[in-house]
């Protein structure tokens, strides 16, 4: 039977690719997005440096990749491929939220040490809280979205209310779970903490072609500014905001503005847009170690992204930490030992004598003082000035109309000032 012949030939190829003595790292993420490439390249550079220094436990590290196409089912297949065909020791992920959620059950099944560098979904950290054993191999080295939103409220109080004098807001949120979560957190915090009244929450569909009616609706609420929440197709809403010259300030979350290519991709039609960003973001001043990473990166790669997104840094430092944890735990096989070694990793980077970036993880018991909850296996972050425990969970960056970008909040990290677009009076 021909079908069987086909399957038998599969078997032969499978046997041929059996592993030799080396440490195998699997990358999971989209190979054609800037996000995915940032993680991939961050990992590649870390591996190159480690191999040049003699490898880990005397073995060289090899990297295999599995593309997710940012599709949930492809993500599951990709994880299975890494786990069962390639039999990797460690997985580094540049997956978006729903893709990570898709393969997480597989990770729990295979118990392969895994580091997520992009998704910030707090629901995954909640899974670590509920099932510490099953989730032991999982780490997320970006501050979770809840921490991002919490600090963002302070931006509302310190800048939007105190400096700009804004009293009321209309929220324009995309109809996604991410949008829902962030909107909920922000609307709950804006009134009590920042003293800004939420006039209305307008939810829009991510396939929206024309935002003119939605902006008209927002204007008619009489609010002082628009708070946007947009992770999918965010360029559309921001470029239409600029094209339509909507006469209100707009700030919030705009995921597309997180990369240096934003300016080129929008053809400059994105000035005035500000967004919260995980650290280190574009426009963020870098400590010497991170700056060297960026310089090496730019010497090595000449295609986009020109500058790694935050997850590129996360992958670079995180992969080294994972390998250090493996040295300590005698490899990746003993997941519990690796997990506790990983939890103890702590990298402090300083700039001008001040703690600038810190790569480490929350343990199971420490309660974060502002939100009053635990964040096991999530990246360390700080929600209070002067940020001497770790870096803030997020910064607010703004693209100016001349194409420059800088951090506007928190003030300790700011290198430019929050301004209104020229057409807003």
């Amino acid at each position: 039977m021909t079908l069987r012949k086909l399957l038998l030939s599969t078997a032969l190829v499978g046997v041929a690719s059996a592993a030799s003595a080396e440490i195998k790292v699997g990358f999971i993420g989209s190979l054609s997005s800037d996000t995915g490439l940032s993680t991939l390249r961050g990992a590649e550079m870390a591996i190159e440096e480690l191999n040049a220094a003699g490898g880990v436990m005397g073995e060289q590290i090899v990297l295999v990749t599995a593309d997710t196409q940012e599709d949930v089912t492809e993500g599951v297949k990709a994880y299975e491929y890494l786990a069962e065909t390639e039999e990797v020791d460690f997985v580094i992920s540049g997956s978006i939220d729903d893709v990570s959620l898709g393969w997480l059950p597989r990770m729990q099944e295979y118990q392969i040490p895994t580091l997520d560098t992009w998704t910030s979904y707090i629901g995954i950290i909640d899974m670590v809280v509920e099932d510490p054993e099953g989730m032991a191999p999982y780490f997320m080295n970006i501050a979770s979205d809840e921490a991002l939103a919490t600090l963002y409220i302070n931006f509302g109080a310190d800048v939007l209310k105190a400096k700009m004098g804004f009293e009321s807001v209309v929220v324009l949120a995309e109809d996604t779970a991410f949008g829902e979560a962030i909107t909920g957190l922000v609307t709950e915090g804006l009134a009590p903490v920042a003293g800004i009244e939420v006039k209305e929450v307008i939810t829009y569909d991510i396939g929206t072609v024309d935002f003119a009616p939605i902006f008209s609706k927002a204007e008619s609420t009489g609010a002082d500014f628009i708070y946007q929440v947009s992770s999918v197709n965010s360029q559309v809403i921001s470029s239409q905001y600029v094209k339509l010259q909507v006469p209100m300030a707009m700030t919030g979350v705009n995921v597309s503005a997180l990369g240096l290519e934003y300016w080129e991709d929008t053809g400059g039609a994105g000035g005035g847009i500000s967004t919260l960003s995980p650290v280190p973001s574009v426009g963020f001043a870098l400590d010497p170690v991170s700056q060297k990473f960026v310089d090496d990166y730019q010497a090595k790669y000449d295609s986009r992204p020109k500058m790694p997104h935050f997850n590129g840094f996360n992958a670079y430092y995180g992969l080294k930490q994972a390998m250090a944890a493996a040295e300590e735990a005698g490899g990746f096989k003993d997941v519990a030992a690796w997990s506790s070694a990983m939890l103890k990793q702590d990298l402090k980077l300083e700039k001008d004598g001040k703690l600038w970036l810190r790569y480490g993880f929350w343990d199971y018991d420490t309660v974060e003082p502002v939100t009053n909850r635990t964040y096991p296996h999530n990246a360390l972050f700080d929600l209070e000035a002067p940020y001497d425990f770790a870096q803030p969970s997020m910064v607010v960056i703004q693209w100016q109309e001349d194409g420059t970008v800088g951090v506007v909040y928190p003030f300790e990290y700011a290198n430019s000032e929050f301004v209104l677009p020229s057409w807003v009076k």
Partner: protein, 314 residues
């Protein structure tokens, strides 16, 4: 009925061959076969309705989605055990599908294709808007109970399911009903003229198709452990199902299985060499060329080859 002993012998040999695989192939390959099995189930379901009767559905994920979402919501939100939720999901697919698509069966040809496409789009939008607390909205749901753990168990489960669905469908199509359905595909007026109720025949085909889609969708979601509207109600998913059925050979039972395995393995084999989007370019290109070369599919090409060899031997 045209049933012969060697038909059953071939089925038995096929099943035996499949069940022997875990002894010879590595686990990674088994995982690939699992996805091929599910794709085969969906392709068989599509073929039962579209391949036979010529009513091409572009919205098959609509049916699969009803099954998948019903069991996902029942198990996740109401803690219903899987043994109860899967049959309910199948029932729901048949009933829901009938209510919604029954009026559409009056429409012929391209318009039927369009209305099913619209139905899928509608479902995609509604799932995200209506009761996101139940459906999980855009992000979908994860952490659903899984039926099996490990590649080998998943392989046995999906293979058993695929084989029983394929065998049942094959038997059904060997009856006079199957012949009548194929006749609709060739000439609906003639069937009506011969005194058969075309509507009732179409209804049976649709119900059988919905049953398979619902069952496949429900089990699939408990295999994946998660569900997301973007991956489910997607024109690329429709594409994969239809192409599997057609590349293999529409209007047959073994064709969709063959197509599903061929395409799934093509995609997996390309992975080590072309990890990125190039894979889909080649995948689509191969599918297009094969389809243009022989719309009757691989099964026909293989039959032709066999005939040629026989002729050469004679």
């Amino acid at each position: 009925m045209g049933l012969r002993w060697y038909h059953f012998a071939l089925w038995a040999a096929f099943a035996a061959g499949m069940f022997l695989l875990p002894e010879i192939v590595p686990r990674g390959t088994l995982r690939t076969i699992i996805f091929a099995n599910f794709l085969a189930i969906f392709a068989i379901s599509w073929d039962t309705l579209s391949g036979r009767t010529g009513y091409v559905s572009f919205g098959h994920p609509f049916l699969i989605g009803i099954g998948a979402y019903t069991t996902a919501i029942l198990t996740k939100r109401f803690d219903v055990p899987v043994e109860i939720s899967i049959p309910l999901a199948v029932l729901m697919t048949m009933v829901g599908g009938l209510i919604v698509l029954l009026p559409a069966l009056r429409i012929k040809g391209s318009y039927f294709a369009l209305v099913t496409l619209a139905m899928m789009e509608l479902m995609y939008q509604l799932v995200q808007v209506i009761r996101p607390d139940l459906t999980g909205g855009t992000r979908g749901m994860s952490g659903l109970p899984t039926l099996t753990r490990g590649a080998v168990n998943g392989f046995y489960m999906s293979t058993a399911l695929m084989l029983s669905i394929a065998f049942t469908t094959w038997l059904l199509m060997k009856t006079r009903l199957g012949t009548a359905l194929s006749a609709i595909g060739m000439n609906e007026e003639a069937v009506a003229g011969s005194g058969l109720s075309v509507t009732r025949l179409k209804l049976v085909a649709f119900t059988a198709s919905a049953f398979t889609a619902g069952l496949g969708g429900a089990v699939y979601v408990h295999y994946l452990g998660s569900i997301a509207p973007r991956a489910l109600f997607d024109i690329n998913f429709v594409f994969t199902i239809i192409v599997a059925a057609l590349i293999g050979g529409a209007g047959t039972t073994i064709g969709p299985i063959l197509g599903a395995f061929f395409l799934t393995f093509l995609l997996e084999y390309l992975r080590p060499w072309l990890p990125g989007a190039e894979r889909y370019l080649i995948y689509g290109g191969v599918a297009l060329v094969l389809y243009m070369y022989q719309p009757k599919g691989l099964i026909y090409l293989m039959g032709q080859a066999v005939r040629r060899v026989r002729k050469g031997a004679a």
